[in-house]
């Protein structure tokens, strides 16, 4: 009985922290319509700031705590809303997602600069050493504080939303922004307020969580992601259900640790929040096809077969020449860029053309590398494509009803669960799986230069294939599906079947990329396929331009050349996260990325051609 009570207490405390973070998430999402993937990162930065103030600079906590919770965090939230989120209202989920992911990476980058992970930092527990005894149960001061804080927040939020003018305006903004504006309230101010409030709640959760775990940048950021699951239980709307989900998660976690056998705990515990998230998303009702939901995406022109073949040939020749000039280390970097470009092709197909957000692309890559490592040879390539494709089909079957944010969260849950349940166990934490290079007749793949050129050929062929797919019936159907699912269905196109096909194809392509990736590296470990890498991949691809093959090619090259730049400018490495993040912020203004910009430029040049050429063209068109 005492064990049960003690476990309940531990679960309750963790559940309360999840509840705090999840409520913050729900408040910002419902009032602004933008899901904040950086919510956890804000909590992390707040916890570090609090450590900086109270531990490092010796500011007393009675001053430091209100300073962080009531001044700095709300200011950060309001600033984020004003600068990043406001240009995004009405933008497709894919864009808002990438921008807040950019913020997430920027904050991680900033934290890495401000608080280098080489130093161990500890945030002491509140009321350390003091306890309250309730019959057989000993409650620490820290635990009591967490529970009381969560209860106080719950009551305050309830009062805010039912009793105050501001709170009612917040609820009204959810229903109809324009109406609220007509009634004399500024919806943007209300949304800004909600972001300030959300940031404050994230900060509170971060500061309460930090003493229970370590002050670890990634750990804190990702732990708060568990709040996503609770928020989804409340369908991103209901605060009471969100709190219930958070408590269930905390308690489930504690009981699992207390009662289940050790090996089961090892497998399930880390994935528990993701199972809950996946479950909550799956229980959502089928999203109906609606008219009037145009994405407003304007895709750049598709190059002709001749153009794409010529560009591919140029790529191969340039890489062949370059590979003769570079040293071994550089060569590997170029190879990595080429593989990355190949993997991004799978995103162009799925997310660019098809409009399906995926936060688990590196999971498919990992499965491909795993299959190649286990099977090897030509059969290994087949196994890589097969395993990743099968996983893609499986994911598609379970998430096919979902769109936008829900799809993103479901794929996020899948990536995270696969990481902790499969990759960490099959590849080991630091351990690695040797992956051989696929054999090609007449080519000595063991030679790094030959293999790099081979990768260039793979990227060129892959690009030409994806582009020619885009010019065919299937490509048109994908783009049409992205533009208007409702119109597609009324033409007799099965939305479900089309999504299934594109998910499977994209995953298989990523799996092939995984086999190439493994061959390049020689061995892979679970670290290569963590969730964060999938996020970075999507971010990079979007920066380059998700709608164009050229765009992702540029992004991949930029990635590959980054270490070369780093040699010239030492210290650049630290700001890599930051730079990527900053780039994402620019997406709020231009969602087509670099590739889109280039296509625009080409269009303008074409329009500015001399009048003579234009006349011929007109005559040609008329003839």
């Amino acid at each position: 009985m005492t064990t049960f009570l003690a476990l309940t207490l531990v679960g309750l405390v963790v559940g309360c922290i999840y509840a705090l973070t999840a409520c913050g998430l729900v408040v910002t999402y419902t009032t602004s319509g933008v899901f904040n993937f950086a919510h956890g990162a804000i909590g992390m930065v707040a916890a570090f700031t609090y450590w900086q103030l109270t531990v490092d600079w010796g500011v007393p906590s009675w001053l430091g705590l209100p300073l962080v919770l009531l001044v700095l965090a709300p200011l950060l939230g309001a600033l984020v809303e004003r600068v990043l989120v406001r240009p995004l209202y009405g933008a497709p989920v894919g864009v808002t997602l990438v921008v807040t992911l950019g913020l997430l990476l920027s904050l991680i980058g900033l934290a890495n600069i401000a608080w280098p992970p080489t130093v161990t930092r500890v945030l002491p527990k509140f009321f350390d050493g003091r306890t309250v005894t309730l019959s057989s149960l000993v409650i620490s001061g820290n635990q009591l504080l967490v529970i009381l804080a969560a209860a106080a927040v719950a009551v305050s939020l309830r009062l805010l939303f039912t009793r105050t003018v501001t709170g009612i305006a917040m609820r009204a903004v959810v229903d109809d922004q324009d109406l609220v504006a007509l009634a004399g309230t500024y919806p943007q101010q209300v949304a800004q307020l909600s972001w300030a409030l959300g940031a404050s709640l994230a900060a509170l959760a971060g500061i309460l969580l930090a003493p229970l775990v370590n002050l670890d940048i990634l750990g804190l950021t990702l732990l708060v992601i568990n709040g996503y699951a609770a928020a989804m239980v409340g369908r991103l709307r209901s605060l009471p259900l969100t709190v219930a989900g958070a408590l269930a998660l905390g308690l489930g976690d504690a009981y699992l640790v207390g009662y289940a056998p050790g090996d089961v705990v090892d497998v399930i515990k880390p994935a528990l929040p993701m199972f809950l998230l996946f479950g909550a998303v799956l229980f959502l009702r089928q999203e109906r096809l609606r008219s009037g939901s145009l994405t407003g995406v304007r895709m750049p022109r598709t190059p002709s077969l001749r153009q794409s073949v010529a560009s591919g040939a140029v790529l191969v020749v340039v890489v062949w020449w370059l590979s003769g000039q570079l040293g071994e280390g550089r060569l590997a970097t170029v190879g990595q860029g080429l593989v990355l470009g190949f993997i991004m092709l799978s995103l162009v197909l799925l997310s660019g053309y098809g409009g399906q957000v995926s936060l688990c692309q590196m999971t498919f890559v990992g499965l491909g590398a795993f299959a190649m490592g286990r099977v090897g040879g030509e059969l290994g390539l087949l196994a890589a494509v097969g395993l990743a494709g099968a996983a893609g089909a499986l994911v598609a079957l379970t998430v096919v009803r979902l769109r936008g944010l829900h799809l993103a969260l479901a794929t996020l849950a899948f990536a995270q669960a696969m990481d902790v349940v499969f990759f960490k166990r099959s590849l080991g934490y630091g351990g690695s799986l040797a992956v051989e290079r696929p054999g090609v007749p007449f080519v000595d793949v063991a030679d790094d230069r030959a293999y790099t050129v081979l990768l260039a050929v793979a990227l060129a062929v892959g690009s030409v294939a994806v582009l020619s797919l885009r010019r065919r019936a299937f490509g048109r159907r994908l783009v049409a599906l992205n533009d208007s699912p409702a119109a597609c269905a009324t033409m007799g196109v099965s939305v479900t079947a089309t999504k299934l096909v594109v998910f499977t194809t994209s995953a298989a392509l990523a799996g092939f990329g995984g086999a190439l990736f493994g061959g390049l590296r020689g061995s892979v470990s679970s670290n290569d396929f963590v969730l964060l890498n999938s996020l970075v991949l999507l971010l990079l691809a979007t920066l380059g331009g998700l709608y164009t093959v050229t765009g992702v090619g540029l992004a991949a090259m930029a990635y590959a050349l980054f270490p070369v730049l780093q040699d010239a400018l030492p210290g650049l490495g630290q700001v890599a996260y930051l730079l990527t993040g900053m780039g994402a912020l620019a997406l709020g203004r231009n969602r087509y990325g670099l590739g889109g910009q280039l296509a625009d430029l080409a269009d303008r040049l074409r329009a500015a051609r001399p009048a003579r050429a234009l006349r011929t063209e007109v005559a040609g068109a008329a003839g």
């Binding site: 145009l294 304007r298 269905a489 033409m491 007799g492």
Partner: protein
Amino acid sequence: MLRVEGVEVRFGGVQALRGVDLEVQPGSLVGLIGPNGAGKTTLFNVVTGLERPTAGRVLLEGRDITSLPPHRRARLGLGRTFQRIEVFSSLTVRENVLAAAEARRSWGRDEPDPERTARDVLRRVGLERVADARVEGLSTGLLRLVEVARGLATRPSLLLLDEPGSGLDGSESEQLGDLLLELVADGTAVLLVEHDVELVMRVCQQVNVLDFGQVIAVGTPAEVQGDAAVQAAYLGAA
């Protein structure tokens, strides 16, 4: 051909359709008119499967299709356009129509040459001039024609048109009328929602009037025009 029986749709506390019956005979041109918010588009959504009715049935050529998903209904010969335009904005006009013809090929097996079908449909609807333009820059009137062309490219036996004439000028709307008459002469049935009363009166053989989710009159254009309830719905009760 199409029979709607006692269809009811309720959105929360609002009863959008109450006991609607409607029939379209093969090869006929039937009008559906009514004030804004009468439930015309909701009825289209029920027929094409975008909306589930809370009660009632939809029958296509005698078969109950009430529980079929939208794409299955399309494969049985239903085509439609949307009041809030749903063109594929990333594609050119030709590609919009081509995508529809290709969809027909993928499920119909009787579409040997989608390119040719697209060309024919574009000529028929009068969009040849802008065939290679991207749809995003076109006027609303032209976009509505793109939707009509796309609907035709799947060669439906019944085409539901939701305000195809809005945004068209006088002569364009006359051409649209000619096109509709031509379609009916070729054996395609059309159910037409339209505010352009002149167009409706000119082309429709039968007109249904919807008001507050109920059919308040059915008859020939002349009969409906003289109906007291219809006049009250449009002009307010005297």
